[in-house]
């Protein structure tokens, strides 16, 4: 994984405390996990969620971007296809090209795939139905900003809730992303027919990730588990690491 070129110009305040890192949460019409994701980021001391709108053309003063789940544009045409054409996604592409962290969850993953920022496609589940259930996954790498605290082989329990989550990639390209360590999460009990049990992937550089399970649903005291916190805490750790060691 390449080192990011330049990091957001964050400065230690006079008190010696690092101001919180800003995490942009993107809202499209039809996004419905926006508030959940916002609250999950908010629950991490050191991260500050900030709303990003689908029509904004630039992203400024933001350290990481998360595209939450939902049904952007009603899933009309094809899941994620319309959102991938919005101004904010062009801005996110530039943001990612600078090596900054981007995560797409569920519909956010579909949008990143549709916009070609991540490889592959997300097809209708093998069961052809919506599936909402707990589906444990195993981390395959600790090398993305969202896996820092999840060494290879770490099993966490997250829920899935989707109808189009069957990850697909032709055999040749599949071998390539496996070889380059771009598969970041695999299902323990493949719920939807994804190739190689893939639940999440990253780009080659490792700064853009997408996953179908919902980490933001496993952060509260009252949740069945709090495993989702690990992804957001990973983000904080990796942002701090890069802050202190920019190159």
């Amino acid at each position: 994984m390449k080192t990011p070129s330049k990091f957001h110009e964050q400065e230690i305040s006079e008190t010696g405390i690092i101001p919180p890192f800003k995490v942009g949460i993107v809202r499209f019409p039809g996004t419905n996990c926006d508030t959940d994701t916002f609250e999950a980021v908010e629950s991490i001391s050191g991260l500050e969620p900030v709303w990003l709108s689908y029509h904004q053309e630039t992203i400024r003063d933001i350290d990481a971007v998360i595209l939450p789940g939902g049904f952007s544009y009603g899933d009309y045409l094809r899941t994620g296809a319309m959102a991938a054409q919005t101004p904010v996604v062009s801005a996110i592409r530039k943001f990612a090209d600078d090596g900054k962290p981007v995560m797409g969850i569920c519909n956010g993953f579909q949008i990143l795939v549709e916009s070609k920022m991540l490889p592959g496609a997300l097809l209708m589940n093998a069961s052809r139905t919506f599936i909402c259930e707990e589906s444990p996954v195993v981390s395959q790498t600790s090398k993305t900003p969202f896996n820092t605290l999840l060494p290879e082989g770490t099993r966490i329990s997250l829920p899935i809730a989707h109808q189009e989550g069957r990850y697909y990639l032709p055999e040749k390209e599949l071998r390539e992303i496996e070889a380059s360590g771009q598969v970041i999460f695999r299902y323990v009990n493949n719920p939807n027919g994804s190739v190689h049990d893939i639940a999440g992937v990253s780009n080659r550089r490792g700064n853009v990730v997408g996953l179908m399970p919902h980490p933001e649903r496993r952060v509260r005291d009252s949740s069945p588990s709090r495993d989702g916190l690990l992804l957001f805490e990973s983000l904080l750790i990796s942002l701090r690491n890069r802050f202190f060691h920019p190159d």
Binding site: G30, N32, C33, D36, E39, G74, F130, C132, A161
Partner: protein
């Protein structure tokens, strides 16, 4: 054409009433307006007299019947709004759109009160899944509910189903929505004064669902296929945008009043909002955003196109409201205004098409005291004695869990996003669903949705009381006490005196029980004419009850995975009647016992006991004794742990059929660690509830040892793996084989 023949199927007697009220022939547009407003669906003309026995009087109630949804206060500054509604007729004709628009409609009722929806629940009754048609209907209804609730981002967290051939030609699809609202955002559907602008926001109006209200006010006949154009089409994407726009308008205090354009669309929303205040309404149909510009005025007035709201606001606020609508990609227009003359005036530019005193549409609408015959539900003492005792316990139990009615409902709820909004603390599969208010108080809202079709068919009065007591017991099981009730009364043809008798009896039971438990009835819906070719469905009232869980951390799950927990039953054990039970249904009504009456005082005691036990954290898991009786309830409790069973050794002699299979109200099964036993039994004494230890949870075992009334020691043992896999497959085996 004689003068009493209606182009909109208004009965001749009502056409005469219209002519005498107006003192002239109605115009085409006026006749259309009357057909909608006088339909059973809008006017409640057969039911209204009887609904008066429900009481909404309670200090917690902030909005009751007559509003879009009921509202009760749960803590300082925060209230919940909720309502339940049927979409039976449309779902039978077009199951996906029928159920999806049912969900959309009930959500808009809650949204119109200014509340953000946080939960959906449903109660579904179908014919037997042996019929391929019902498998398809069921599949598509489940997908339709998911197809609206999931994209709208509202978790579907509770539900129940019943499959019964008495519903082969009329399925029931009832949905409930619950929302949270801050006091300052509570809206009303009552105009405050004249001179308010009527602002249309939402999807454009099309020809879909024209006369839907009138359709739902008739029975089906064999040639019912031609009704499909009267079913509306859902657009959850626009619906979600409309939700956000409406909530923004309410939150910013821009609206005077809001109403969903539901049944009879523009007509009912505009006349009702003005009518509640004794005002009039003037509309210009040429200003309504249309999908098809060739639509006739009467079509525009009766269209039930989805995702539309009518907002009344002062002229100063109109501009901002239109801007909000457009920022959410919605059509909007000022289409009329409230006037001091209490008439409904419809114009198309300069032409006046209708001018009707609003009281003729609402207060002077027909009100029928339909003839009824008393229902005789006392058991037949002449009948041959029950054969239930001739079957082995094991055989009876297998028949229960092999049937979709007794099987695992997981196939259904995995279609529903039951976790979006991250409020779900107890989701589907528990007695009551529990959601997090996300307020500093740490409290939660519990939701229980209940029907008991077989008990209500056997005795609608006792059945009505039973469903209320079941909901109270289910709320108690998770540690909640009841706040308020909403109902959906599904019956057959009210012109049939037998049906009308059942209707009155069911209402008597629900009203009696809700008063006994001090639960206000804050909203509701009546669905009549559930009949096909003159055959009516059995009486099927359904209720949804919200409860308050003062501290979420005290909630009690309905599942356990832990071996070695003690099991006990608490509550009222004096009546072990099998009348109206699932066993009675499995044996085709063979059990000649009365449907049990409700021991109100005992259930109030049980509720208090559960509140105290949950506050002390003594109990690990609980379940109200439900469908199938104690043994099936225990199975549900250990169902999520593949290898967990139980070993029961009953301390006293029992009459096995009643003990194992009775669904008499007011009993809860508890699982707790052994060291808590003395404390729990002490508390039971304190609250005067019977406490009976049963045994404990155990890995790999399913054994029940007991003495029958003759004093003989018996042992009932099952292969745990076989039981669990049969339970899991009972419903899914029908559905997963669909082509």
């Amino acid at each position: 054409m004689t003068s009493t023949t209606s182009r909109f199927r208004i009965p001749p007697s009502e056409m005469e009433m219209i002519q005498s009220l107006l003192g002239r022939e109605p115009s085409l547009t006026e006749e259309a307006v009357f057909s909608a407003m006088w339909s059973e669906h809008c006017s409640y003309k057969s039911s209204r007299i009887h609904l008066r026995s429900f009481s909404a009087l309670h200090p917690r109630v902030k909005a009751g019947p007559g509003e879009n949804a009921g509202i009760v206060q749960v803590q300082d500054g925060i209230s919940v709004a909720f309502k339940m509604e049927s979409h039976n007729h449309p779902s039978f004709l077009e199951p996906f759109q029928g159920s999806a628009t049912g969900v959309g409609g009930i959500l808009r009722d809650v949204i119109a009160m200014g509340a953000r929806p946080v939960a959906l629940a449903n109660s579904l009754v179908f014919g037997s899944l042996r019929h391929p048609r019902h498998r398809t209907l069921f599949q598509r209804v489940v997908e339709g509910i998911a197809g609206y609730g999931n994209p709208a981002g509202i978790p579907t967290i509770a539900g129940e189903t019943w499959f019964d051939d008495r519903y082969q030609s009329n399925i029931l699809v009832n949905v409930m929505a619950v929302g949270i609202v801050k006091d300052q955002s509570i809206m009303s559907a009552k105009a405050s004064r004249e001179g308010l602008l009527a602002i249309y926001i939402g999807n454009m109006t099309g020809r879909d669902g024209v006369s839907g209200a009138a359709m739902a006010s008739r029975g089906f006949t064999r040639d019912g296929d031609d009704l499909r154009p009267q079913v509306q089409i859902a657009d959850p994407y626009a619906g979600k945008n409309l939700m956000e726009a409406t909530l923004e308008i309410a939150r910013r205090g821009l609206a005077d009043s809001i109403q969903d354009m539901g049944a009879a669309g523009l007509t009912s929303s505009s006349t009702e909002m003005a009518g509640r205040a004794g005002l009039g309404m003037e509309l210009d149909v040429s200003l309504v955003p249309l999908r098809d510009p060739t639509m006739e005025p009467w079509e525009i007035l009766l269209s039930e196109s989805q995702e539309r709201m009518l907002v009344l606001a002062t002229p100063q606020n109109a501009e901002t409201i239109l801007e909000i609508a457009s920022s959410w990609h919605l059509s909007s227009a000022v289409i009329g205004k409230t006037i001091s003359d209490a008439r409904f005036v419809v114009r198309k530019k300069d032409h006046t098409l209708a001018s009707i005193p609003i009281s003729h549409l609402t207060d002077n609408a027909p009100l029928y005291q339909r003839p009824s015959v008393p229902t005789n539900r006392t058991p037949n003492s002449e009948a041959a004695p029950s054969m239930a005792g001739a079957h082995s316990l094991s055989d009876l139990f297998h028949r229960m869990i092999d049937h979709p009615n007794g099987g695992d409902p997981r196939w259904i709820y995995r279609h529903f996003d039951f976790e979006v909004q991250t409020r779900t603390v107890l989701g589907p599969g528990h007695d009551s669903a529990v959601i997090d208010l996300k307020s500093p108080s740490g409290s939660g809202i519990a939701i229980s949705i209940v029907s008991q079709p077989h008990a209500c068919a056997r005795d609608p009065y006792r059945g009505g009381a039973l469903i209320v007591s079941k909901a109270v017991t289910e709320l108690a099981a998770v540690g909640a006490f009841p706040l308020a009730l909403t109902d959906c009364l599904n019956f057959g043809n009210p012109e049939n005196p037998v049906v009308m008798g059942e209707f009155q009896e069911a209402i008597r039971g629900i009203a009696e029980a809700s008063i006994a438990f001090d639960i206000p009835v804050v909203s509701g819906n009546v669905s009549l004419y559930n009949e096909t070719d003159q055959t009516s469905i059995p009486p099927t009232p359904m209720i949804g009850v919200t409860g308050l869980l003062p501290a979420l951390r005290n909630r009690i799950s309905g599942h356990t995975k832990a071996p070695g927990l003690k099991l006990a039953i608490v509550g009222y054990m004096e009546n072990m009647s099998l009348g109206g039970s699932y066993l009675d249904w499995i044996l085709e009504g063979d059990v000649q016992e009365a449907v049990p009456s409700v021991p109100y005082e005992k259930i109030r005691g049980l509720s208090s006991f559960m509140m105290a036990s949950s506050a002390r954290g003594s109990v690990t898991a609980t379940r109200a004794v439900g469908r199938g009786g104690i043994v099936r309830t225990l199975l549900m409790m250990v169902a999520s742990a593949p290898s967990l069973g139980f070993y029961l050794d009953l301390p006293k002699s029992i009459e096995p059929l009643g003990f194992f299979f009775s669904e008499s109200p007011g009993r809860i099964v508890l699982a707790y660690s052994a060291e808590e036993e003395s404390r729990i039994s002490e508390m039971a004494k304190e609250w005067n509830v019977t406490f009976l230890p049963l045994g404990y949870t155990a890995p790999g075992v399913w054994t029940i040892r007991f003495r029958n009334m003759e004093g003989n020691l018996k042992e009932w043992t099952e292969n745990l793996g076989v039981i669990k896999s049969r339970f899991q497959r009972a419903l899914s085996q029908f559905m997963e084989e669909l082509p």
